[in-house]
Chain length 358, copies 4
């Protein structure tokens, strides 16, 4: 039976590479990791030992030459993503790549062209689409349970700010953090944003400001279909990871609460309380990481498009660029100011892909 | 003991006049209504009968000449507010006036000048400040319970849209509906807004659009102290009246839920559910109407400034004008574009008034 | 119009007398208090001043002779209830009497016989039936929303124990505190209890034990229709007044939460919390006191039976006696062991009365 | 590294055997299944294929002779548990056994004696102790967070009744279903029950009654330390699996809610609702199954007592027998009526074991 498993290679043995390696090893019977590589060979070896991965490749190039490997998970640093997508596509491997593909549209478009030319599958790691809460919200929209959507609110706050050194290479808050929320907005509403307006500032850590970045922002989205949305981002929430959405529709609203380590409520002399939410994405989105890989493997084994395509990876980058320009120029910015051509549309049409049967 | 009661006259026996008359009659031992008037005499008479009000005056002017009357509640239509404030002030009566004072700053400033000249007290009917939920949020901010505020969200949605004829005379959504939220924003944060950006449209009823108004809007506020806020308004929420706020601070957040007719939760075969929220402001804000009148009467009897002054009535009108301009011109608008002089500051300073001891 | 108001006399100007006097004066347009009396004349006078009551009667007897008085509210100490019901009935007054009628069935039966002979109306002060939460639960049962009831749980805990001196004259926890829950159980299920089993003890205050009473008890009820119920009583809950019910039916369950002073939730560094529930019955049941008097006055003005009759006052006393015997003898006790005859049934049948159309 | 993994044999490839096999294969890096057996060989083979188990043994006896096997998981039918424990102990294997050990104390005591004589470890499958909700409640009790416990309530209702054929061999509701709650009661309070009283009946399915069993019961527990508890059991809850506890202590209370598939709340025109709870134990207790095996493997690798010992498996059986007798004889029954000797105490004392450092 193991010959039917999808044979996977992993590039990058850092935090997210470890998550994916363990998922495949311990929670994904339909796949197996046959090779891994990392610039730090010891990191790759340690993960291989833990997850029974038979081969530690010398380099990404070596891994991509391995004929055993049918699909690769690109878990290396962002600056390597686009190049590795190109190489993997040329090697005929199906590709799962962490977000963002790149910080520039030129790199992204070259990578997507290579994927198209090679005819391989590509899935971008927007894992939150696979979270039970957000999937339930998407279902409420696509099924008409709340009628036509009117207003969307996304709250996405981290428990603690990153180190300034990380901020420096992150591409900025919009590219690093809000990008998940840009994807979420498109996914939930099932339509495209045409204009963005940002108000924001540095409220958490002045060192972040010295890197030229923000740590707190309120982003307003206007969709083509008239829906208005907001994204509330802050690099620090004293009570932990805050990840919620709310949509008002013509027939009702749907709103999600955070996820908690337990459902116990204590009533004491001064207050009625519960423990704070799950602290960060490794705990909060555990299941979604497994579900997205399951979806990726299923897509490839069944020969159908992935649920988060290359275009889904490209558009949030356009949105991040527009958000930054809005902040810099203090005015609403249309996406077509950033992306004059608008990228190459996919043959099967966009709206249909965003609104699967539910 | 009845001679110590504050003797009140009421101008206007419509919906809000009835609320206040009944509050004074049945829930406010420290006050009594001694006269009432309405353009429809029968309406005034019916309310007088129900609430044991001894005199139905021929006109507002006649009521204001009544030496028995120490204070008036102005509950007539908005276009009469500013003029009646002037006349009442000149007659030496303390004044409680429903919001908004007027749609133009000129009228407001003339009314406030008359109040100042007469040395009487003026309270504006922003009743929501006296609601237990929002008072708790204000307390959390002013006491430092959540640290320094960073982001504010106000959701304020009506159960059903008004008739187009009402829209025509309402002054528009910002002046009629959002004005409560503008006051709430200032009250909760304890600072002034300096810039407003609006995205909105007609999503509920095209007849509202034909009147030149919006029915759905997302308003972004930037406060002088850097806080960023949003106001989410919609003239229709299928599930009833939606009135919530949330503030993120440096040490935590506070968020309020809606108020419900009961605390029962039913678990059935298909869902776990409860009854929808209290439907509209008469049910939702019942207690706050009583509390605001109690505060007004106490302020006068104790000779101290009211909790919602004339300036508190003026600034939200400036905000409503800025919001409309932002919508029309599709750009962020500073309040000082609307209000070049900024109104006359009060002698005792603004911040102190906004941040009472708690 | 004031001649149509029901003219009420109040016997007793203590805590609950004050509640009722203020309700009639300020919240009940269809009634008016025309006379009040109390053994402490100053207490009666103070309340008369506050609520504009024109007459302070010398004694209960004098008040009952007042031909102006159409109905009396008996708010004096429990040991006087049964005798005053008899006298009021003989004077032809309609009667509202606080619970319990008496601690002995002999006294109760003599009082109820006098009421029957006089043909006056009697309502017992089980105010919780008129609370929005419990009324919603009753509706779920009577409308079939949760199917046929199977299991009932009542939690009824006080914020702090009474003084030992009060315990001494209270009739014991079952007669003083649980009696409300006995009524609630009958009201919610719409059927009669046939057997009671109690486990309990002294966990809060040993002084209560020295008075021969319990402070914590778990009472099991078995209804004639097979439903099984529990009542959880404790004289002390650190977090305040805890008043909840839950019913499991064949088609679902309904459960009520406590009532809180506001709906704000704060997320801090260590916990997500809200303020503790409303502290005690004066705050928690405010509305139900007004609603029960409204119901009483309406019943009399409309000439129909009250919603809480004399039998509804009698049966919980039988239950309290059975509960105490179960505790003393450490075995389940049938109600017909206590009440051999079972009281005189009402002509219109019992179940029908308990299950009004909803 | 694989030589350091604990080598496990599984007896029984039914529903719970499958759960444990998959847990070890995919979620428990510190263990591996080296052999499996089942009376239906195909079932064992299919599970072996899925989980990469190298050996399918002919019989339990053959598996127990396998020197590779260090520990066994007994997942076969209840009537085989005690005998297999004896045999496994004699073969020197550490043992994890599903609950209950047996329906008779004689069988249990013989099995426990064999375990003791062999010096092997034994853990009983009371997985709910490892659930995050109940572990949090236990922590609140053991840490003093809610003070000294006074009242305990356990609600434990199944979504749908079992087939009558299952009821026939189940040992009855107390032995099959309530036994988990008996364990939970001891675990949460950290003390032993001394008396049980049951009221119950057949409310769900008369076929269950024809098998001589109940389907609905309210069990009252009196603990040695004075705490009073209830267990609410019903074989049917229209809304799904209902698993909650509440404890009132001298300083507060703690209560748990059910677990839901997502945290989304929808507000519609008629109600505010969410999806029903996770439907049954396979979904609700997924994590606890993994955690209990992790604990078992850790205990053995570290040479310390398991967290749920043989005595913990024995006492709930005594409680189930007492509960049934109480129901049959309609009176409170002391546990020492059932278990005259009380079983052999463990050398390290009981309370200490029940109250681990937290």
């Amino acid at each position: 039976m193991s010959t039917q498993k999808l044979r996977i290679g992993i590039i990058g043995a850092g935090r997210i590479g470890q998550v994916h390696a363990q998922t495949v090893a311990f929670r994904l019977p339909e796949g197996e990791v046959v090779a891994i590589t990392d610039m730090k060979r010891e990191a790759a070896q340690a993960l291989a030992d833990r997850c029974n991965i038979p081969r530690v490749a010398e380099s990404a190039a070596a891994l991509l030459e391995d004929s055993q490997v049918e699909a690769v998970l690109i878990c290396s640093s962002t600056d390597t993503h686009a190049g590795l997508i190109e190489q993997a596509a040329q090697a005929g491997k199906h590709i799962f790549c962490e977000k963002p593909i790149a910080h520039s549209l030129e790199k992204i478009d070259r990578a997507l062209a290579a994927v198209k030319a090679a005819g391989v599958q590509l899935q971008i790691g927007f894992n939150r689409r696979f979270d039970a809460n957000f999937a339930r919200v998407r279902h409420a929209v696509s099924s008409g349970e709340i009628g036509a959507p009117r207003l969307l609110h996304i709250v996405s706050r981290d428990p603690a700010p990153p180190a300034p050194e990380y901020v420096r290479i992150s591409g900025g808050m919009f590219m690093d953090m809000t990008i998940h929320d840009f994807d979420m907005a498109r996914f939930l509403i099932g339509d495209e944003v045409e204009e963005i307006y940002v108000t924001g500032g540095v409220m958490v850590d002045e060192a972040i400001g010295r890197e030229g970045d923000l740590d707190t922002a309120l982003t307003v989205l206007r969709f083509r279909n008239g829906v208005i949305g907001t994204i509330d981002n802050c690099r620090q929430a004293a009570y932990g990871y805050d990840q919620r959405v709310e949509i008002l529709g013509s027939e009702g609203k749907i709103a999600t609460e955070n996820c908690y380590p337990n459902q116990a409520v204590i009533s004491g002399g001064n207050s009625v309380y519960r423990d704070v939410p799950l602290n960060f994405f490794m705990d909060r989105y555990t299941e979604s990481f497994a579900t997205e890989l399951h979806s990726f493997v299923s897509s490839i084994r069944e020969g159908r498009p992935t649920e988060v395509t290359g275009i889904d990876g490209r558009i949030p980058v356009v949105m991040a660029l527009a958000a930054r320009r809005s902040y810099d120029e203090h005015r609403p910015v249309r996406l077509d100011e950033i992306d004059v051509g608008g990228g190459e549309p996919e043959p099967d049409g966009h709206a249909a892909r965003l609104c699967p049967q539910t």
